[in-house]
Amino acid sequence: MENAAVKVLICEGTSGVSAGAREVLKAFGVELARFNIDKAEIISTGDRGLFRDVLVDIITPKLGRITYDFITPEKVPQIVEEHIKGNIPVKKFLAGKQYKEFFSGQERITLQNCGEIDPENLEEYLANKGYQGLKRALGEMSPQQVIDEVKKSGIRGRGGAGFPTGLKWSFCLGNPSDQKYMVCNADEGDPGAFMDRSVLEGDPQAVLEGMAIGGYAIGASNGYIYCRAEYPLAIRRLKISIDQAVKDGYLGDNILGSDFSFHITIKEGAGAFVCGEETALLASIEGFRGMPRSRPPFPAQKGLWEHPTTINNVETLANIPQIILKGGDWYASVGTESSKGTKVFALAGKVKNTGLVEVPMGTTIRDLVFGPGGGMLKKKIPFKAVQLGGPSGGCLPADLLDTPIDYESVNETGAIMGSGGMVVMDQSTCMVDMAKFFTAFTVEESCGKCVPCRIGLNRMLEVLTRITEGEGKEGDIEFLERMANSIKATALCGLGNTAPNPVLTTIRYFRDEYEAHIREKRCPAHVCPNLVKFDVIEDRCSKCGKCFKACPVDAIAWEKKTFPIIDKEKCIRCRSCINECDQMAIE
């Protein structure tokens, strides 16, 4: 029985799938059969966090666990033959420098199971102390004790605003009602954020367990998960997980033989960013337009169908089982004075390693971008800014790279922690264009209920568009600042209150770029179409020919060791060449 305990783990979340994980999985099936290894088990896990990569772990009794990266179907026969059959790892395919770099400095609490277990198999979750937290809560603790433990942990809402979770729960516990609801906000609408998707795809049971513990603490017997429809895999895995948990008695009536019953229903969002706002989310579950309403009454008083309701984010809930199991003190030992625990960031943009990074609170932005992130994507194009908090956040410049990541420090910069999107930008990203991009997004997603957001943001977008088209005027910057501050002060909900942040932070830190657009009719990053001339800057050009290869209409003439020449008659101004250039040599 030499093959008795062979396990092949393949990361098969959305990112794994698009990198080709399904083909790799198939290839392992074929090869294992070909070598008559029938005792091996192929396990499909969620993503471990590193993008553009198919990670495969092989566990054998002799060699233990060994990780391979960038696996393609062509590499599978050799791995099966030499490693599984012959017990000699295939050295040249082993996970290398990039893998190690990416995981250095990370501390994985929320993501502990992501990429490690089969998310569609409850047994594996149970084997990793799954549902032990719920067991402890139901067996040994009163609802108040659960809340005290969560308060002790110091965990704050990971959805963005950072409200202390224990306090939120205690409000709801304090409002007696025959019916209460526990809602999980999985409407991860921030463009640039994918933490919640990965947790739902990689470790759905942890979220369900967190919800059940929360339900017990606040006295709710019903829960809803409001998940975006754009995440089909997450929804499928949640459905499977709920069925399994109900079947084994971890959800449903009289959980684990106690008096506590808890039922979870999935509601698919229908595509509206504003539904991430809690009162809008509740309206949407009830079947109406997702429009926020003014508070008070707060959801803890009158929430879903007028009943007391608690709404927590996916990442927050995924931490709860471990807090109950290992204790609030353990969780509070990680992080800073005011921000406890770890935070998951979705690192993307012009950075070498993209993916999910979980670090203790208090880590600096620099440590994150140049540690696990591996630094900039293109060596010759330096760092310009990092965007935190999506459309509600801001762009921070190089001299704020040493800002520690905690709620207060990030807020001071004018950005917000947000849900954890972190998009890195280099000198080829235009800050005015970014401000326009986010404002266009919030204009589109504004529900239209209050005037400042509906009309004010539109006015800002008009001015920003004019500036990027080379029609900016003196006074535009001041107008933007005035309008932004009034919207911040007067909009009804969180969407409107924070929507001007991208404009305000880019003006604060990159005013010179606005001025270059307005006064010199120049886009320093070579982005804004009307301001780009499609000329080759010969001083910068390395004559590499990438632009020539990238052009879809053959408008670029180039031969080895010569400067490219762009035929402006043929050019369709699609910017392929500019995106491809490593030197920013086309302006």
Partner: protein, 157 residues
């Protein structure tokens, strides 16, 4: 586009399945869209009768959420992600290019009914930006050239 008469049998089953649940309007409409590919006008009146609400209350919801469409889709739906990371990595350029090549505006369907081009705010694959999603299959690290190759591949198949 093939314009077969609408099979109204489907809708009866869907309404029955969802009618009695709380807050059912959105899931009901989602089920209709899944069955028909869009929300046909005829179904709105049937839903209105079944749930005892005015058609305008249904249209109010239909026009609020980006997911719902009131016109039929093309054979394939090509979504161009325009999240932050995709924007920074050139997603908008791809979207503009595809729109010009397919001769449709985002949200529209090509004349031959093959493709519906959509912009989406974020598909959550930011690590592989820029991303295209053809039907349900995501394609990461796209360039303008690859985007048009993808279209040609699907057109041929």
């Amino acid at each position: 586009m093939d314009s077969q008469p609408l099979d109204l049998k489907l809708i009866g089953d869907i309404i029955e399945r969802f009618q009695k649940k709380k807050g059912t309007l959105i899931p009901l409409l989602q089920a209709i869209q899944e069955a028909y590919g869009y929300i046909p006008k005829e179904t709105v009146n049937l839903v209105s009768k079944a749930l005892k609400i005015f058609p305008v209350q249904i249209y109010e919801v239909l026009t609020f959420y980006a997911q719902f469409r009131l016109t039929p889709r093309g054979k394939h739906t090509l979504k161009v992600c325009l999240g932050t990371a995709c924007h920074v990595m050139g997603g908008k350029d791809i979207c503009d290019y595809l729109a010009s090549q397919l001769e449709v505006k985002p949200g529209g369907t090509t004349e031959d009914g093959m493709f519906t081009l959509e912009r989406v705010a974020c598909v959550g694959c930011c690590g592989m930006a820029p991303v295209l999603v053809m039907d349900e299959q995501p394609f990461g690290d796209c360039t303008i050239q690859q985007s048009i190759e993808l279209v040609e591949k699907y057109r041929a198949s």
